[in-house]
Amino acid sequence: MSRREGKSLQREAFERLKKNRAALGSLFAIIVISMIGVLAPWIAPHAFDEQYLDHVLEAPSSQFWLGTDSLGRDMLSRLIYGARISMAVGVITAVISLIIGTIYGAISGWFGGWVDSLLMRSVDILDSIPSIVLLILVKLVFDSFDIIGNPELKALTGMLLALSFTSWVSLARVVRGQVLQVKQMAYVESARAMGASALRMVGQHILPNILGPVIVLLTFQIPSNILYESFLSFLGLGLQPPYSSWGVLANDGWRSLTSYPHLMISPGVAIFITMLAFNLLGDGLRDAFDPQMRGR
């Protein structure tokens, strides 16, 4: 198997994916949600922070399609901007954890021996702290240091760092496993024997081969990050204004399901659809990349 074959493997996977209607639909939904997030300033009917003090906590109407919140802000606009923040949190943390995880896993897998055992033992230990405990403590620590120097961004950076900090472990494991596998393949061994540099080998042979599993893992990582973000909001450790995610909105609303259902339902539905889409897409991608391992 050469690099070219690695590519054709991906093409095959893509062909398989195209046949999966649920996954395609989900991909479409994700693209739509992302577009909503990106285009938020243009499509939101109101400014997300404009307070209509005469319209506090109103039910959906023709003026405010999804009603207003406790400060008289338009829920639809907040939801649209929330898409931006929620998706950004999900994607950025996934990317950061991907980078950390890949480097860590690749080093561990490539060097093997005591490096591998040391790195993997540390990962094991990190894994045996319940992730939520770690998340709470790390979030609080990051929150209390103003890394960027902008108090408005502080909670957001804290959230990104804390989520990345707790979610790279599984990526590191997968990458390491894949690297170990690929390393033993004949062509890599021969390339190694021919004196190819480690960096080149990783770039040329290993990365293309581990792309599939990593993409699959990422697709599952994003919704789980979004979920953890909403979870931290529930515990009062969420984002702070002006940045409000769906998690923040949902947390504002869940206590008043009977009194002001619109406060909970719209962010709830948004989270639900997004999670559904990412999970279906993830399933589809997994089937596509690894037909042997369907559903594992």
Binding site: P130, A250, W254
Partner: protein, 356 residues
Amino acid sequence: MIARVWGAIVAILFANVVLLSFFNYEIPTVLWWAFGLSTLGGAAVYVFTKGLTFYVLRRILEAIFTVFIIATLTFALLRVLPGGPFDSEKALAPEVMANLAKKYKLDEPLLKQYADYMVGLVQGDLGQSYKYISRDVSSILMESLPVSVQLGVYALIVSYLIGIPMGILAGWKPNSFLDFACMTFAISGVALPSFLMAPIFILIFVQYLGWFEPALWDGPAYYVLPSVILGIRPAAVIARLMRASVLEVIHSDYIRTAKAKGLSARKILFKHVLRNSLIPVLSLSGPLAAGILTGSFVIELIFAVPGVAKHLILGVTNRDYPMILGSTLIFSYILVIANLITDLLTAIVDPRVKMT
């Protein structure tokens, strides 16, 4: 054969303990002893006869080591965290602050505090809570742990009870309507944060139907909702895994052979498919336990369940260092042990698995 009888006995005793606790009966001490002895004793005999003694001992030692590392990490993290345990809306007079620091030995050098804590930990002393004045953290945790374990076990049972049948149904007839329905449920189960699911369930089952109680922890009517909500997410994970596993087994050679031999579908399902496809699900129990642990934070708060998770969350808000450390360690230890149990169980069920 002996193993099977033993398995049956443990299962019967376990089912009894669960049922009695669920219906709020006092569990007789005899039953506890029988259950504990048969489980531990059986496990010990199994481990010994299979030559796994060394392996298990090593794992346990590793677990202890891990817990110490976690204690160190958490200790460090807590001291980095700004805000002290006695900061409050009404700032205290410096004299009072000094007295408190002295009482809880917070005025000593950090290393000394750390050493003291570690020495205490070795002796099984987790220190006194700052918030719950004059109460030992270990006694607080010992009071709340059984409740958390109870909730966790119910949730685990719920997740298996829902997840496995659904996964089998979906995998047995792939791409049918049943498959679609089961999988839609499964994915919906992971798609909603539990703090959004809880109010919906309360609205339906408490306020409209009046079947259950909205909160507290005192009998079947109280146990059902929290356990179900906590169990739904893992149930969804199990259902998906089970489906994949069933699909894989169905397509394997020996099932094809069995079919060719003319065995009835039901027999194939129960005799071969079920047993073989359960293995990957079983091996997931460790991570599932972790997931349930995570979810229990939300559930315990919303349903006012007097468990450990609540103590951890409140401990963080109160900066009750000994409490946070204690509950983190308990959780970590449970996780480590759950993984060990999972590995052992998998090895029992699946002879192919080798342990080193």
